[in-house]
Amino acid sequence: MKPDRTPALLGTVLAAVVLGGLALPQWTLFILTIAFAQGLVVLGLMLLQRAGLVSFGQALYYCIGAYTAGGLGRAFGTGDLFVQMLAGAAAAALVALMLGFLLARYRGIFFGLLSLALSMIFYGLIVKSEALGSTDGMNLVKTTLFGVRPDAAWVRYAMAVAAACLALGAAFLTHRYLKTPLGRLGPAIKDNEIRVEYMGASVRYAIHVNYVIAATLAGAGGALAATSVGHIDPEMAYWTTSGEFVFIAILSGAGSVVAPFFGALVFGAIHTVAYDVSPNTWQMSMGAALLLAIVFLPDGLWSLFVRRRPG
């Protein structure tokens, strides 16, 4: 049995953030935090991808998480990161539990289109909602960690470390999940659903579970992003946001629970650099990067680190 290297890898990344973060400038720490937030969403996409499904509507849960965080601040003055992420994740999970009954019956492009439609419905709701600030969105209250508001000089570092702990912790739990019999069903479903059903397992149940987990991760990611940026707006539910997540998922590949975070970081780096070099061509750079990834790295960036076992 190959030794499981993932926990060590996760630990290494965490250590790198805690130690290396001390030397990083504020803006890098911010990008790192956002990468963790996006990575959470993409981790969920990875689960669905393993089962052969691509969701073009994860922005729905990302936004639910974000607006839950914002709402908590507005209603109760809570700015605590952990409370916000927990609440965001829970809200997203609840919605996914219900929607999953419908979505788990779809495959291929129809799964994608339905997930898209559902996220656009939510977008339609909040973009016209005066109470939620319509297109302007709203600002969040200042973040606190365990009730403590860090010093201005340390906020970004503290956020990055907290984000790392939570995101990598979630990744570890996901990794454990993928080792359970249910977690292992994904590739079997993608490969041959009929076989799975005829062996007595419910494919719909497995997909429903994966969908709820993916939504929970996305909700947590949304709350984290909202708190980091300090502002939320309906754009977070728009199809272009979902598209970005799928983009990062393609970039990352499905090789490891660490891959989504790595992919999100690379995405953030390309975005920042491309925008600095030429603000009017950064999308072009992203598009080109995506094309290159699809054509030359069908298994994502992670495949560069892992040698494929001979078939």
């Binding site: 492009i109 559902l118 339609g124 909602s129």
Partner: protein, 298 residues
């Protein structure tokens, strides 16, 4: 209910616009089984080409009445420059891949084209309203509507009649229908399916470009114009049925009327209802109201 008149008129105008915007998307899906995100790019390209060329035309003092031809010409030009290059240069190498992967390729192209537009036309808005204002206005139920909107309706009708005629009465059209129904069989019977893909992609993109260019006089043409259109087109096409042209018409009418009703009575739910209809159709009749596509559904 005195609102009915305006609701209907608004609905019809919006439906016409939606049909023109979306019909190319369903055509491309029907023939090539691709959900083409660059459809939104061609809409924007058409808008920019139409606006900029018409602006130049009018600035030189040429007859304003011919600006409509310029709009058409602009759409045609920009399509011929980009569409064949995209299809022959990139897309045709992707046909063997999974439909979701191809969709992502078109999404990547969409991103590239968004900035290509900025590089060509800059980021400042184009506002060329003359063709819009030129035809004056007409009155219905006490409200004035620009006559230009009738052009949109007329264009939609002309396009649907034209497409229907081409598909059912010409040899090329019938072959296209055959390819829609069964590409493998068509290929086996000697139809040059690859050439059909090129023609279809170009035609579908042209229709999007026409939609953009004829809308240009009514709006301020800015970057990001195609972003909303693409997802709305998805909704129309899904409701009517992927790959069905009568479906696109019906989808356009449904979305147009639904939107018009909500705008007049409860504006907050405008987008909500449109995408709810899309979700409902997917939930209860995934193949759409006239759908041909086999829904992947268990």
């Amino acid at each position: 209910m005195s609102q009915i008149g305006p609701v209907l008129v608004d609905g019809i105008i919006y439906s016409a616009w939606l049909f023109i915007a979306a019909v190319g998307l369903t055509l491309v899906y029907g023939v090539m089984k691709i959900l083409n995100v660059t459809h939104g790019s061609f809409y924007a390209l058409g808008a920019y080409a139409g606006a900029s060329l018409t602006g130049a035309w009018l600035a030189r003092g040429f007859p304003p009445m011919l600006s409509y031809a310029v709009l058409l010409g602009g759409a045609l030009l920009v399509t011929l420059v980009f569409a064949p290059a995209i299809e022959r240069g990139l897309l045709r190498f992707m046909y063997a891949k999974d439909e979701v992967v191809i969709l992502l390729v078109t999404y990547a192209l969409f991103l590239i084209l968004e900035d290509t537009i900025k590089l060509i036309w800059g980021v400042n808005p184009y506002f060329v309203a003359e063709p819009y204002a030129l035809l004056g206005s007409f009155e219905v139920g006490g409200l004035r509507y620009p006559t230009y909107n009738l052009i949109l309706v007329g264009l939609a009708l002309a396009l649907s009649a034209g497409l229907a005629w081409v598909l059912h009465s010409t040899r090329v059209g019938k072959l296209l229908l055959a390819v829609i129904h069964d590409p493998e069989m068509s290929r086996a019977l000697g139809v040059n399916v690859d050439r059909f893909y090129l023609v279809t992609f170009t035609l579908g993109s042209l229709l999007a470009a026409i939609g953009g260019s004829f809308t240009a006089p009514t709006v301020s043409v800015v970057p990001g114009l195609g972003v909303d259109v693409i997802v709305l087109s998805f909704a129309v096409v899904v409701i009517g049925g992927l790959g069905s042209l009568p479906g696109a018409a019906l989808g356009a009418v449904i979305v147009g009327l639904v939107r018009s009703v909500s705008v007049h009575y409860l504006p907050q739910v405008e987008l909500f209802v449109i995408y709810s209809v899309m979700a409902l159709v997917l939930a209860f009749r995934p193949r759409g109201l006239f759908g041909l596509a086999e829904p992947r559904r268990i």
